[in-house]
């Protein structure tokens, strides 16, 4: 069976996503709409800035790097933006290359299909298109591209943990694993499952990055492939550049941005020097407080539950399953203790055992991102940002219900302002709702590359959180 291109581009009508329809309605009402920056790799970052940040010699290094690790040998928008941090990009690409191309438990077309499934959960058409393209190049089982219903039962079984991991990873249990591993003919081997889980987590997190950095869709002018053309044109290109939260977003206080930066640095300094000991109870409640506060941190009005209409949705079943706050009081979920199941001690060993060497790749990636620093903040130089980085990382884990006994969650409150928390929560929990305004509203003094750095941290923190939950479930299943 082959895919009939016409069936995908069935209607001539150019589909317009919900958000754009909203924008259009607003337009009719005569409201002023901020013009999106659509040219260049990112809708949030001016093209000039990216080009300036990568001088020519570095650019060639990037190209060589990409040539080593990607199929097309070309810089796509994603790698261009990530290329602002070449040190990280290398470990990222190596890991992704290993996941997608080097011999592993799963066949190639499965890997890309899983990537599509994962990205589709967040309606990330950028990643979906990319992997649809890759899938076509492999040229097997093309009928799967018609949607999840055309894929084999085995892949459809994966959908359950795909949606849980994407939106509420804390709900995953060993029963889910059991259902996948012991189902007779459509069962997964543990090695395959681990490969799939790593792929899912990788692409969920990558979707966060794509939305968080406002990556523009690839416009491949000389795409020789008809299918791809149809696919690209059929997705609403404005997905990323638009502002889907048009309600006027009042920044808390609208403080002068320079003093904002100064204040942040002042707080960091104070925290570093301060030796006063918070009482035990105080420490214990701070996590709870932060967790519960994250409930209130929402980006405002989307009571209208958006059910996606885009074409990506054919890879999604149960689209209404979305993010729900971990901290919702009624179901009282147990906190995940990072000390009892940590990446370094447990996650690594398990993942490396079942899918050899991926542990080292991920380990290097996590290590790179947590150690990445240029010792400066905005215009100030020679600053130790460890504290800030740790606050970002732990805040993401906090929202996923992972607690570090040895971390004072009061620091999060001190260091991360409200608009940043809004941004973090949006990017990690429901990235498809990220808007340019959210991106712009925090840390206005900071460089774009620093904001991309924040996105990298968020992406890796999210990936690790998902992996920890999934691997813990697998461990429980195995014992």
């Amino acid at each position: 069976m082959n895919v009939n291109p016409e069936s995908i581009g069935s209607s001539n009508s150019y589909q317009i996503c919900n958000n754009c329809q909203k924008v259009l309605r607003k337009k009719e009402k005569g409201m002023r709409i901020p013009r999106p920056l659509t040219s260049g790799p990112s809708a949030f970052i001016p093209e000039k800035e990216i080009l300036e940040a990568t001088p020519v010699d570095m650019h060639t290094n990037l190209l060589l790097l990409v040539g080593d690790y990607s199929s097309s040998g070309q810089l796509n928008h994603l790698t261009q933006v990530m290329g602002l941090h070449p040190q990280y990009l290398e470990s990222f690409l190596r890991c992704q290359f290993y996941l997608l191309r080097i011999d592993g438990p799963l066949p190639q077309h499965y890997r890309h299909y899983i990537a599509i499934m994962a990205a589709a959960r967040h309606q990330c058409s950028f990643l979906v298109n990319m992997h649809v393209h890759e899938f076509l190049q492999i040229g097997m089982c093309l009928e799967w591209l018609n949607g999840l219903d055309f894929a084999p039962q085995r892949l459809r079984n994966l959908n359950e943990i795909n949606k849980i991991l994407a939106h509420r990873p804390w709900l995953i249990t060993k029963e889910h694993i059991q259902k996948l591993v012991k189902t007779g003919e459509n069962s997964w081997s543990l090695a395959e499952l681990v490969h799939a889980v790593v792929l899912l987590a990788h692409f969920h997190a990558l979707a966060s990055f794509v939305f968080g950095s406002g990556i523009n869709p690839e416009v491949d002018a000389d795409a020789s492939n008809r299918f791809q053309d149809v696919a690209v044109n059929n997705f609403c290109v404005c997905d990323l550049a638009n502002d889907n939260n048009l309600e006027d977003f009042l920044l808390p206080g609208m403080v002068d941005s320079v003093s904002e930066l100064e204040a942040l640095m002042e707080r960091m300094k104070r925290l570093q020097e301060e030796e006063e000991e918070a009482s035990q109870e105080e420490m214990a409640t701070r996590f709870e407080k932060e967790k519960e506060e994250s409930l209130l941190v929402t980006s405002g009005a989307f009571e209208d539950e958006i059910v996606p209409v885009s074409n990506v949705s054919r890879f999604v079943s149960d689209p209404t399953f979305g993010y729900q706050d971990f901290a919702r009081r009624e179901d009282n979920l147990p906190t995940f203790r990072a000390q009892d199941f940590s990446w370094d001690d447990h996650g690594f060993s398990l993942v490396n055992r079942l899918y050899s060497d991926i542990g080292h790749m991920l380990d290097e990636k996590f290590r790179t991102v947590s150690n990445l620093t240029y010792y400066n903040m905005a215009t100030h130089e020679d600053i130790d940002t460890t504290m800030l980085r740790r606050a970002l990382f732990n805040y993401v884990h906090c929202m996923f219900g992972i607690k570090y006994d040895d971390y004072d969650y009061g620091e999060v409150n001190q260091l991360l302002e409200r608009s940043l928390k809004v941004y973090i929560k949006t990017v990690t929990c429901y990235p498809e709702r990220t808007t340019r305004r959210m991106y712009d509203s925090y840390w206005r003094q900071f460089r774009h590359s620093e904001k991309v750095h924040v996105n990298l941290l968020l992406m890796e923190a999210r990936m690790q959180a998902e992996l920890l939950y999934a691997l813990r479930a697998i461990t429980h299943y195995m014992t």
Binding site: G73, G139, M283, R337, S349, D363, D405
Partner: protein, 801 residues
């Protein structure tokens, strides 16, 4: 001598420790026993008189007394209404000098000491909250009562004097997390620290500014380390890389003297008392057993304790001088005492046998001496092995059987193979010379039959001939035979002999296997067979095969319907194959099965000629026979190809199972759709992959690629579509070329220009690896015939080989 030294050491220890317990007087006794804890344990530690054990975890902190047959809970140290995180222990240690003193490391970074001598319920003594992150390890000084060391995730180690409120000194591990700290038992001032980045550092407690030595012990975190209780220079380390290593640090550079590879990351390692080469390990994940290793036999554990149901988190030998009891705590919320005598011995279950093929087909086989009785074969050369480890570890004790590693002495036999007999020449030659496509079916078969015959493989040759006869249309059969008449006659002869031999043996199985051949015979009306014989055979096959009867009837009735039916197939195929071409970028022919068009052609001209020619064929040999025999063969020569399918399928399976997957695949390809549907996809795929694998081992790349191309299975077909990208750099500016066109984006020059004709090379490009100039293959070849210098004029002496 050794005994004397040990005894002295022993005395010294006793004296220093001011301990009254002497093993000689009151020996520890007990049995393997366990008790349930309320919560998972993280660490355990034992009191110096071996009578009590403390268990610590996130939600547990209790002391149990070790009695003869059970554990008895003595004390619960978790008191207070709302236990704080200070009770959430990552590690615990009982002081070896003062039986009232305990220290714990809390996950929130606190170091807590406990005094059991306190009269109140809360035994907490001191609280140090100097670490910023989780404290992974606490360690008391073995002889100094007030000295406590801690190692934390924040990268610092701190030394506390328990008489003071804060640490006396801080040691920095350069921002790498500390996983374990251990005071040396023998050197008063030394301690070892292991780190998350794989390093081990040795420190002098008096010099907090800099470590004395550092070496990289493992790849990835070093979770644990332990000093040897007797040998001051030995340090054992265990890491996430699943290794246990023993280091000799008396030399200038730390030297790895033993290494054990385990099956999971090593969480704890503890030397076994009184046994110089033994140590116990448990793992961090997945594996729940406790192993005791003999360093000198690293491939199999000396003893195993398999009681735990979840990972073991803490192990400790019960007494400093008693190797007989091991205590362990686990995530499964149990506390065990293991008696060494009850341990299971993996070596008892192991098969000390080995088998290995040599490069030239020699076979080496090692087995227990007792199994191989002195056979005395001329080509068997026994080697002795394992003789060097016959002696027990200690001299001062009478060797105890349970304390010895089982000794195996094996006999090794090497079987040499006759090089000639196992040569695979025939395989290579066959692979090279077989034709799989490009000619009409009949010719392919004939060609392949000839190849097989020349290589002295008559059975294979005959099979090809038979296939031709079975599947050729009558029309083609005629042309084929008339063309290669000379070749076919001797073939028939060889076939006859085989057939007779089969008949002579007369065994059922033989007949079954030969069924195809026999059936073939009757069709061809071989003059060498008597008529009666033929009929006999026929009856037998008809009787045994139900479908055969049915088909006979069918054929008689629907003789004419046969052709239109066959016409439908090719068209269906055509449709099927044309589709992928739309979907793929046409880089090269992807699914091209040349047998299809030929097949089609055959069919097209067959119907109208067939009538006459078929008769002609059948008539020629018939002349010498009575009429009775004619009628039967006549029908059979019109048998539909599908009639033979089951037989051919069996034949293919037979070849594949006999190891000649080459034949199976070749037939599969040559027959194409005639047989494809008969054999299930997976088997086909399996055959293809094994054949391709073989071809690639013999470096027959072209053949293997042809096979991939001709295969009809999609899984195989896509093999030659993977890793087809070739990255090129522009020859002018040395930058990567984007995949568009022949002009480099950056320097705007044509890349890959022929050095001879100065045109762009589009096709085979050959270049010199010395000067990287090159061009059209033809041009370069011609050029280098007349000149030895590079055509580009760079002066390099190029070589064309």
């Amino acid at each position: 001598m050794v005994k004397l030294l040990l005894a002295q050491d022993h005395q010294k220890m006793e004296k220093m420790a001011r301990v009254t317990t002497a093993l000689g007087s009151n020996t520890i006794s007990g049995c393997t026993m366990f008790c349930h804890l309320d919560a998972p344990a993280n660490a355990i530690s034992v009191c110096r008189d071996a009578a009590q054990v403390v268990v610590a975890g996130r939600n547990i902190f209790k002391i149990y007394a070790l009695e003869e047959e059970q554990f008895v809970e003595k004390l619960n140290l978790r008191v207070g209404r709302k236990p704080s995180l200070n009770f959430s222990c990552a590690d615990v240690m009982w002081h070896q000098m003062d039986e009232n003193l305990l220290a714990t490391a809390a996950t929130n970074g606190a170091v807590v000491t406990w005094n059991l001598g306190k009269p109140s319920r809360n035994k907490q003594d001191q609280l140090f909250t100097e670490h910023k992150r989780t404290v992974n390890k606490v360690c008391f000084h073995p002889t100094e009562v007030h000295m406590l060391l801690s190692g934390s995730q924040d990268g610092y180690m701190k030394c506390f004097d328990l008489r003071r409120k804060e640490s006396v000194s801080t040691f920095s591990g350069q921002s790498e997390s500390v996983r374990d700290v251990q005071f040396s038992i023998r050197d008063y001032f030394t301690f070892a620290a292991s780190f998350e980045n794989g390093n081990v550092q040795l420190w002098d407690i008096r010099r907090p500014d800099r470590y004395e030595r550092m070496f990289t012990a493992h790849n990835g975190p070093v979770f644990c380390c332990d000093w040897h209780p007797e040998d001051r220079g030995w340090l054992a380390t265990g890491g996430r890389d699943k290794m246990v290593k023993v280091w000799d640090i008396t030399t200038n550079r730390a030297k790895e003297i033993h290494c054990v590879q385990t099956i999971a990351s090593v969480a704890r390692v503890k030397w076994r008392p009184e046994r110089k080469y033994h140590l116990a390990t448990c793992s961090m994940m997945v594996d729940h057993n406790i192993y005791v290793w003999d360093m000198r036999r690293p491939f199999i554990p000396f003893a195993t304790f398999e009681e735990h149901k979840d990972v073991t988190t803490g192990i400790v030998w019960r007494h400093l001088h008693d190797p007989g009891f091991l205590l362990s705590g686990s995530k499964d919320s149990t506390l065990y005492q293991h008696k060494f005598k009850d341990a299971s011995r993996p070596v008892d279950k192991a098969n000390p046998e080995g088998l290995c093929f040599g490069l030239f087909g020699d076979l080496a086989f090692a087995a227990k001496e007792s199994l191989i009785s002195g056979g005395g074969d001329s080509n068997r050369k026994p080697y002795g092995s394992g003789g060097d480890r016959r002696y027990p570890i200690f001299f001062f004790k009478k060797p105890d059987l349970t304390e010895q590693f089982a000794h195996e002495s094996s006999a090794l036999s090497v079987f040499e193979t006759d090089l000639e007999s196992s040569r695979m020449d025939w395989f290579v030659k066959t692979a090279r010379r077989y034709l799989l496509s490009g000619k009409p079916f009949g010719e392919l078969c004939d060609h392949n039959a000839k190849v097989a015959k020349e290589l002295n493989r008559p059975q294979v040759s005959t099979t090809w001939t038979m296939l031709r006869i079975m599947y050729s249309d009558p029309g083609n059969l005629a042309t084929a035979t008339s063309i290669s008449k000379g070749g076919s006659v001797p073939l028939m002869n060889s076939f006859n002999m085989k057939e007779i031999a089969a008949g002579g043996l007369g065994s059922e199985s033989r007949l079954d296997r030969g069924k195809g051949e026999i059936r073939q015979d009757t069709i061809h009306l071989d003059p060498g067979n008597s008529l009666i014989n033929n009929n006999d055979e026929n009856e037998e096959t008809e009787g045994s095969e139900g479908p055969a009867d049915y088909l006979f009837g069918d054929v008689e009735l629907e003789d004419d319907d046969l052709y239109p039916m066959e016409h439908e197939n090719p068209t269906a195929e055509e449709a099927e194959y044309s589709l992928p071409q739309e979907a793929f970028p046409l880089r090269h022919e992807i699914v091209d099965n040349p047998s299809v068009p030929e097949h089609l052609q055959d069919k097209v001209d067959s119907p109208h000629v067939s009538g006459n020619e078929a008769e002609a064929v059948c008539l020629t040999p018939i002349k010498s026979f009575s009429l009775i025999s004619i009628s039967q063969p006549l029908y059979e020569s019109h048998l539909p190809a599908s009639f033979f399918s089951p037989v051919v399928r069996e034949m293919l399976q037979h070849y594949a199972e006999a190891g000649d997957v080459q034949m199976a695949v070749s037939v599969l390809i040559v027959l194409g759709d005639r047989i494809r549907k008969e054999v299930d996809e997976l088997t086909q795929e399996h055959w293809y992959t094994s054949y391709i694998d073989l071809l690639q081992r013999f470096e027959l790349w072209n053949v293997s690629n042809e096979v991939i191309k001709l295969s009809t299975s999609s899984a195989i077909n896509c093999l030659n579509q993977t890793s087809t990208t070739l990255h090129i750099n522009c020859s002018n500016c040395k930058r990567p070329m984007s995949n568009k066109g022949w002009i480099c984006d950056r320097c705007h020059q044509c890349a890959s220009i022929c050095a001879v004709c100065h045109h762009v090379v589009k096709g085979l490009f050959v270049w010199c690896q010395g000067c990287s100039h090159g061009g059209h293959l033809e041009h370069i070849m011609n050029w280098l015939k007349s000149s030895s210098h590079c055509p580009a004029g760079c002066g390099h002496l190029c070589e064309y080989t």
